[in-house]
Symmetry: D2
Subunit: 368 residues, 4 copies
């Protein structure tokens, strides 16, 4: 199939997230990058365009200009800017009829997220969000095992998303995540807590109904949360507990999910992502392996999301590519796919606001 | 050294916990079993005495008789009965001047635990409690690494104690743990939550000051808690999150402790107990191994608590034996040792009562 | 930088190895695919070209035609055909002045491999071979730790490359690997044993001088080896033991390397590729993590070969991309790089022939 | 049941192996220690007797005296002396009608081992040998899974027994293992290689028929082997590869067993001994857990050899106790049991001699 054409806002060469998006899109050659507005810094912007082989005429100093000029010429826009501009760019792009793939958090407030959802619906545009961990094949398998009843009724979810980045040398390198003007009213909850939240709802198929939160600020002079413990009550009587942190010293990207059902439980560790552990009360534990011969029967989605044979490891870039695959297929067919969209983005902001509200109210149970 | 003499209340042959105590005491030949009151069932009682090679005259149908007859002839009494009789037996034994080693929970209420503590103090008797996980060498190493400042200021503890026993076939086999008349007002919190609580305070050297709890009853018809999520605030600004369950399907004895300090964090898994993982923000993770050549420098206690060379695994029985070692040394010397005693027992009941109270009050923060 | 242009021989859409090469080349956008001769099956060939978006005029039914037409228009040729044609295609391409990236084994015989090496040298063409496991960042770190003396003098290497593919349902799907006319005189040794051999020499910097081998045929009707145990003597008094198999039931791609030096040892497992374990006699084991902050100091190559932060896993495609990165840099600069080339290809054939010879001679020690 | 009475030759207080034997015997209170000849050093001997609470009259300066005086008063003799005296003590004890439990290696030569076997047979005495790893419940499960056909026909065994003890500080502490006068003609093969050999035959139920060996001496001035690679051919067409070392720097007690059958394979790691991994070609890997509810159906022996519930770890002392359990039952009943005896001891010496012979003959295949 002919690759689509896309543009990027933000994500200059040398940034953390920009190169990942470009690699993910290239992996399956879903789309060719044809335009961009990479940085407010004119030099960096031009250099990024050059490095990426773009026509200089399509490298814009301003995302407004990009949208004004490129709408109709690009199939979608990827937004990799810092948080505070997600809403405005996504809104403008959607209004201009451009499908949007926007980094999380979708916005700085629930209200903005809801507005984006409404615009996308009204303009019939796709809105994709890289809750990347839902793109891992073994997470899709987890979801399908739950859906197929392998675990029975779900009682409890225990989830960790632990990073120690704020304890590293040079942690000041990404100070914007600590700055409420750019990052928004939350740090750890809106930066990585939302990933955890999205995974819980994705894997269990349940909805978080209320939560209580205890946010802390251990290593951030700006006062934004950098550690959180959150208890949740989900639909159908299930519960969840989440710990998430930026000051979990020595942790790299500790996304660990445990789902306990009445018949079995599952465990997935993002730092060992090609395996899914399923434990039974009265039978040996099973380790499912990515793209093993038996995967397809349990989860067509997990099989489809795999590229290389079991034993040949896939990782982060493939997970993001899987989300792009579904997003691009949706852009092509105008039909929903298995990728996080407006609903997940809105719910995640609902989660952030409830967590902030609960924590301020001495950890009262708070409805989402 | 000549072994002491001891008696057991409860713990008939065929019970879960009795044989473990006897093996632990035998391992280092700390004491010889000379008397017992193993079961209210006369036949079972006699059979246990016979099997254990006791003089039938010293096998008692009633613990009161045992205490009345044996005080002065035994060095200590181990109490392995069901929860509801711990208090009465321990009280009688202490009052009779017998040192007591009593299974957890120490009592059914905080008030009773405090009373036992007071009696022990007044009678100058030792009161030991098998918070067995604090007996593992690598847990002692963890405590000493924290004490020596290897982790820096502690910010957060994340702890799991997850069992799936209530989801197993034949879970009804130990129904008394589900019965409030025997087990007391709590199931999971007082049965295993207290182990977790004791470990947190033991390893960090901090005190839990307040907590909020969300207890659940998923698999217990009697209404006692079988799943709990508990957030805690500790002295010196640290926090902790604990999940503990009896319905964590497929878990065997999932005691997992993570302590995050500003300089390093540590991880210990009771199901892989001979290793302690220490993670740094900017250096390779380190795995400390039990009784390796370098252990003693970091923790004399960890070294002393080890028997076999690294690579020759020790487990549960050695951990309990380590607690007995310290308890018996205290009985011999009348000096405190590195074993959980009245204070830990009282604090653990404080924890249980606070958890029950908080959970009933919609998870309000509750002082210990 | 502007991507190069390249062509592929073999590797039709739907094949195992073709898509991996294309993804690896795309990941860093090293080169654009502009031509190919994908299959002897005309329909499949055309379909592959179409699927890959090639100009139909540049999709050739025959690799000879491809070379004849494309030389001067492409920067390099990737050869993904079955073993028996590697030599002829590589020879023709090199003679035509095309840089070649050729799947292993480089040829069916040592003589052919040496001839290819000679031609490459004479024509000053690059010859790259995907001994992919040497492309993993943690393997580069392993090599550099050895080089820097962290392990001291190397005494012993213990290596496994265990697959169970011939025991899987549908193992007949790739019967050509079992067919001596296509696969050559060896199956397991030339298909995966050569990877292990290449890793041993790459990581230790030592040369295998002699070996003894015991090859077996457990699951292959054609009589080619599908299991092998090989002992080796290396330069500087080191030794190595290798087991490799296609009938190691249940193994996926079990590449496990242990290198024992006098001061330390290392362990790397391809199925957990983002970590390198280093063990000391009298200090805690260390786990190095890919792209952690401390990696660069120990190994600039390991850092350069990493894309995403520690905790965001990389896998097989990145490893192959790393080899392509170095190969393409060499093509651009005409200077040797850190990728396996003619020398590694020739030595690996020397290894295959010595193993076959030794095994036939009742496992006599045989010089390479 | 009333404990038996036993004596020990060697194994003074403070030695490595003596205390382990005593703990193992105590764990299940199989026997009471009543006599001993612990050391040629009179002071050490007396001190050991005192520490162990023995009647000084039954603490002998010489094992001959012990045997002469104690035969008829003890049920068995445990021999924990250094290798060179095993044969003479065992011979004298058996001739005196005493059942013997003797540390490995059974003797310094095959001839001696065969003689001991003949005497035991003639005198109808039990001869037990602590090939301790065969006492682990999960090793018994492994054996029974093989026996029950779960793995199908066995093709290959890959085994490691890697220690780094000779690279540790203070490795000179046990120099006798390096001294041919005390240790015998081999070091690593006869000290730990025999454990590996015994496990291979125990688990597979097959017999090693011939082997080739390449022994090395890397760290031992006395010239005894401290590293070995050994290939084996077993009955029924199976093969095995073994690496074993005392200079595997950083390894503690790395006993790792992989058995590959046509239907499944298994993996057991002595450093994680409560689990057995079984891998299938086309189904998820299974992890069996010690004393889980489903163990008994697959292996009555594995269940019987377990004390504590799954999740409460057992280790080295329980494994040795399991061997003693079976040995003591045999002593009581005069019937063979599931413990390594004369046959295993003789075969292991056959293995040692074949390995030495092969290695001297440039690794020729050598019959056992």
């Amino acid at each position: 199939m002919k690759p689509l054409k896309y543009a990027i806002a933000g994500g200059a060469v040398g940034s953390f997230i920009g190169p990942i998006h470009r690699m993910a899109v290239r992996l399956d050659r879903l789309a060719d990058l044809v335009a961009g507005s990479f940085s407010r810094d004119a030099e960096k912007n031009a250099a990024s365009g050059a490095e990426l082989g773009l026509d200089p005429a399509r490298v814009y100093g301003d995302w407004k200009e990009l949208i004004a000029t490129e709408h109709g010429r690009i199939d979608f826009l990827t937004i990799c800017t810092t948080n505070e501009s997600h809403y405005a760019i996504a809104k403008a792009a959607l209004e201009a009829g451009i499908d949007v793939f926007c980094e999380k958090p979708l916005s700085l407030s629930l209200k903005e997220a809801e507005e984006l959802g409404a615009i996308a619906r009204r303009k019939r545009r796709m809105l994709g969000i890289p809750f990347t961990y839902t793109g891992y094949p073994m997470v899709k398998l987890a979801r399908d095992l739950v859906k197929n009843g392998e675990l029975g009724t779900i009682d409890k979810v225990v989830m960790e998303y632990q990073q120690g980045s704020f304890r590293k040398k040079g942690a000041g390198g990404r100070p914007w995540k600590m700055d409420p003007k750019i990052a928004g009213p939350s740090c750890v909850v809106s930066d990585i807590g939302v990933h955890a939240f999205a995974m819980i709802e994705y894997v269990t198929g349940l909805e978080v109904r209320e939560l209580l939160a205890d946010l802390s600020t251990y290593g951030n002079d700006n006062g934004l949360d950098d550690d959180a413990s959150i208890l949740m009550r989900l639909s159908k009587g299930a519960k969840a507990a989440l710990v998430t942190s930026k000051v979990a010293t020595g942790e790299e990207n500790g996304v660990r999910l445990r789902v306990y059902g009445r018949k079995a439980s599952l465990f997935w560790d993002q730092e060992d992502p090609n395996y899914l552990h399923v434990k039974y009360p009265d039978a040996p534990e099973r380790i499912w392996k990515r793209k093993a011969s038996y995967i397809g029967e349990a989860s067509a989605a997990a099989l489809r999301a795999s590229r290389f044979p079991a034993g040949h490891h896939e990782g982060f870039v493939e997970a993001l590519a899987n989300i792009y695959d579904e997003f691009v297929a949706a852009v092509r067919t105008r039909r929903a796919g298995d990728f996080p969209g407006a609903r997940a983005g809105i719910r995640s902001m609902r989660f952030v606001e409830a967590a902030l509200k609960s924590s301020k109210a001495r950890s009262q149970w708070t409805a989402l």
